[in-house]
């Protein structure tokens, strides 16, 4: 039982989430409904995209703190081109290209120029926000066409076109990272860069690709943001990158690279967004949100850490138990113990 939770952050999250839902449902009847689910999902889209992108970069043992600014810049490009009379498809292409270019610049600096990712993306965090402000002249972009807002409209069951796109993207990310050779490379590069290089993995290209993917995700998040809100403020996406990093940690993605799953990130995003919606429902003032989200994040991590420690201690005890028991241990026994230790 404990093993399950230690190995699988998703399981921990789902159990905690289920308990929380049951408690809130009991305290505020009516919370557990299709309407709540729909709100949670559509509220989670932006964070989902940013977290997914951030996860890919973290897997390769880098970090990207510029996503919020990329979101803002891409959204501004989208809004400006729409207001300049471009068609919606063309504006979306511009938006995504902006994100890809911003990600490519980050990737260029980190993978090919050797600048530490935290430094490079801290720089572009300011730079991209600055470009956005220059482009917009510091003004909010309003009067966006109805066609854009319609993307966030309900198609049925509380799903919008954007929701479908994001869910498909999550599925795609899961498939690529789990089931393809190139996906495995992301894990390999983050796990041990030297080993990956030694075995012919194109380390730099993988790192570069991760940043481009992150940029694209952030641009898509910018599109979702603009469609949902209906206007683009100067500070669009401000601070979302840190929330995304917290989500990754909560979802079991190691900041040291090499481990983490799309399922974990997905559950963590739903978890965090559910907290927000529950607080609204429980009529707790909104200014409590950050406090409660932070406290829950820390509690889950603490719980998780304790479980891991207990498991480690058990594995150790089992591994060395052969020597306590007496005579010469057989080969089989030793192997069996190593196997369990490896899990």
């Amino acid at each position: 039982m404990l093993d399950l939770f230690a190995r699988n952050r998703v399981a921990t999250l789902i159990v905690v989430l289920a308990v929380a839902y049951a408690a809130i449902g009991a305290a505020a009847p009516g919370y557990l409904s299709g309407a709540t689910a729909s709100v949670v999902i559509s509220n989670s889209l932006v964070l989902m995209l940013i977290s997914l992108g951030t996860m890919i970069v973290i897997l390769t043992r880098n970090i990207d703190v510029s996503s919020g600014s990329v979101l803002g810049l891409s959204a501004a490009v989208l809004g400006l081109s729409l207001n300049a009379g471009a068609g919606l498809p063309l504006a979306i292409v511009f938006c995504l290209m902006t994100g890809a270019a911003a990600g490519a610049f980050n990737g260029l600096m980190v993978a090919y120029l050797g600048i530490p990712s935290i430094v490079a993306t801290l720089g572009t965090l300011g730079l991209y926000r600055g470009i956005m402000l220059v482009l917009t002249g510091g003004r909010w972009i309003e009067d966006l066409p109805q066609g854009l807002k319609a993307l966030a409209g309900n198609l049925g069951f509380g799903f919008s076109a954007l929701t479908v796109v994001v869910l498909l993207l999550v599925a795609l990310a899961w498939y690529v990272l789990r089931k393809t050779r190139f996906g495995r490379y992301f894990y390999a590069v983050g796990d041990n860069r030297a080993a990956a290089h030694h075995l012919g993995v194109p380390v730099r290209r993988v790192q570069f690709t991760a940043f481009v993917a992150t940029g694209l995700c952030a641009a898509l998040a910018g599109l979702v943001f603009a469609a949902q809100i209906g206007f683009i403020p100067n500070q669009a996406g401000n601070g979302v990158e840190l929330k995304a990093i917290a989500v990754n940690v909560l979802g079991g993605v190691s900041l040291l690279g090499g481990t983490g799953s799309v399922a974990g990130v997905f559950s963590a995003v739903i978890f965090i967004t559910s907290i927000d919606s529950a607080l609204v429902f429980l009529k707790i003032p909104a200014y409590w949100n950050d406090f409660i989200a932070g406290a829950i994040l820390l509690s889950v991590l603490l719980l998780d850490g304790r479980i891991r420690q207990i498991i480690d201690r058990r594995i150790r005890a089992r591994r060395y138990a052969v020597h306590e028991r007496g005579p010469v241990p057989s080969d089989e026994k030793t192997t069996a113990n190593t196997v369990e230790a490896g899990r």
Binding site: R181, Y187, L199, G200, E324
Partner: protein
């Protein structure tokens, strides 16, 4: 293809030059490797051996010169390219992805999926006669198993040229034999192998030809049979290694051994149980055994790094119940760990920090780097540490010099009892002799030394008495007639019966 490969030349290096900045490390090296040849490559610290290997395997580019593998030129410095041509470097320190499974570790970088390659890997594992769980997470692998993963990586890639960089430095003799059998099989299949090792006896056993590198040039090359051990060692180090530095323990033994320093009674802990031993001032106690016998765990428990479950430790006449590294260092019980990269050195820190790090809790609040540097300089001259200065980073030093820095660190604590865990692993012959001399000198000064080593030659040369551990238990004791054979009998007695 096999016919051609079985007769021809599989690797050819012509006039390789390489320099780092203004410092030339390779000055026109040419080497050839025939199919089915096991070619020993030797060289001291800084001889250019590792640069040569890195160039061959595409890790770094050469300044000039040509490399041909399987008749095709190595045109770009990339390991993937070298592997594609059929060359695989099995590095001394295995490259492991700790979060991936063993199978994924072996198959990473190959076009086929791990699942498709599984039967082939299983077959190779069986041929190598090792027990390895392919589904275990690689983080749980011991050093020896990591080495085997690397060898399997080379084999699964069908390499025609293998470079084995000290492949046996972490293997048990049983595993070494299995490896040698595998090497002979590969040899029969026409694979050419560069075999890098500091152990002449192993080289004699497995290699046919030898090349010795010194200061970036090949100083000796040809059939192994035509050179004596002394000639080879001479070629490697300009300093003549005299017979005197071989065995002289008898001269010291009688006069200088003093009162007991450390007595261990029935100590049990993780990976070992009921170990008792005594070591007196000026005595070298060899703690022998094979990899995995529990010697390192024992030493770490003595040093307070692991919990003990039973037994007592008496140091200088008083029992030490509570032990932590800090307490041990303060009392004069000092441990030199086995894995110098992971547990010993601060790789990015300057050398003088490394040396003073043991006593960092005794340094004044406002540091005096000048004094620390002076301490380092003393050790540098007395131990012959080759470096650019006390400010150099530890990463830049060769294995032998890194080990000397670690020894200096231990000595700065003025130990009464010094536990040395594999002090000469991955260290070349010349530096190894320096370290042996140093150990003898320390003993003569009255330090009690526990020498943990899997190299039984080393134990035979240095130890005044020997305690053998096998499978976490005491395997026996030798007080006189210490010989490699006697140690091996005790260390493998159970092991051979087990595998027979």
């Amino acid at each position: 293809m096999t016919d051609q490969a079985a007769t021809g030349r599989v690797a050819q290096l012509t006039d390789i030059w390489k320099s780092y900045g203004a410092v030339p490390v390779l000055k026109g090296v040419s080497l050839a490797l025939q199919a089915g040849e096991v070619h020993a490559l030797l060289g001291g610290n800084g001889a250019g051996k590792s640069s040569l290997m890195k160039i061959m395997s595409g890790v770094i580019p050469a300044n000039s010169g040509a490399i041909e593998i399987n008749g095709r030129p190595l045109t770009q410095a990339s390991p993937a390219h070298a592997q594609e041509l059929g060359l695989y470097l099995v590095p001394q320190e295995a490259h492991i992805l700790p979060n991936q499974s063993v199978l994924e570790n072996i198959c990473l970088g190959l076009a086929a999926s791990p699942r498709a390659l599984r039967p082939r890997v299983e077959q190779l594992v069986a041929e190598l006669a090792v027990s390895l769980d392919l589904d275990a997470q690689a983080a749980a692998l011991e050093i020896a198993e990591r080495q085997i993963v690397e060898i399997l990586r080379g084999l699964v890639r069908d390499a025609r040229v293998l470079i084995l960089d000290e492949p046996t430095s972490a293997l048990t003799p049983f595993e070494t034999n299995a490896l040698f059998q595998r090497v002979r099989k590969l040899q029969a299949q026409g694979v050419g192998i560069f075999f890098i090792s500091h152990k002449l006896r192993e080289i004699r056993e497995i290699c046919r030809t030898i090349s010795v590198l010194r200061d970036g040039v090949i100083v000796l090359s040809g059939p192994l049979d035509s050179y004596s051990d002394a000639e080879i060692i001479d070629a490697m180090s300009r300093v003549q290694i005299t017979e005197a530095s071989g065995k002289d323990r008898t001269g010291r033994k009688v006069s200088q051994i003093g009162q007991p320093r450390l007595s261990v009674r029935g100590l049990s802990g993780e990976g070992f149980r009921n170990i008792s031993l005594d070591v007196r001032a000026g005595e070298i106690l060899g703690l022998a055994g094979v990899v995995g016998a529990g010697r390192t765990e024992f030493a770490e428990t003595l040093f307070g790094l692991r919990p003990q479950t039973a037994g007592s430790v008496i140091f200088d006449g008083a029992e030490m119940k509570k032990r932590s590294p800090r307490i041990c260092i303060d009392r004069g019980l000092v441990y030199l760990p086995e894995d110098r990269q992971q547990h010993g050195l601060f790789l990015e820190a300057p050398l003088f920090w490394n040396v003073s790090s043991y006593l960092v809790h005794r340094l004044p609040f406002f540091l005096r780097p000048g004094a620390e540097r002076k301490v380092f300089e003393t050790f540098r001259s007395s131990m012959g540490i080759k470096c650019t200065g006390p400010g150099q980073e530890a990463r830049g030093l060769s294995g032998g010099n890194q080990q000397k820095v670690l020894l200096a660190k231990c000595l700065s604590a003025r130990p009464k009892v010094l536990i040395l865990d594999e002090p000469t692993r991955g260290v070349d012959v010349a530096a190894r002799n320096d370290i042996y001399d140093l150990i003898r000198k320390l003993a003569a000064e009255g330090v009690a030394i526990i020498l943990i080593s899997s190299d039984f030659d080393e134990i035979e040369q240095l130890a005044d008495l020997v305690e053998v551990m096998a499978f976490g238990q005491s395997g026996g004791e030798l007080t006189d007639n210490i010989s490699v054979d006697a140690i091996a009998r005790l260390a493998f007695g159970a092991s051979e019966a087990r595998h027979a």
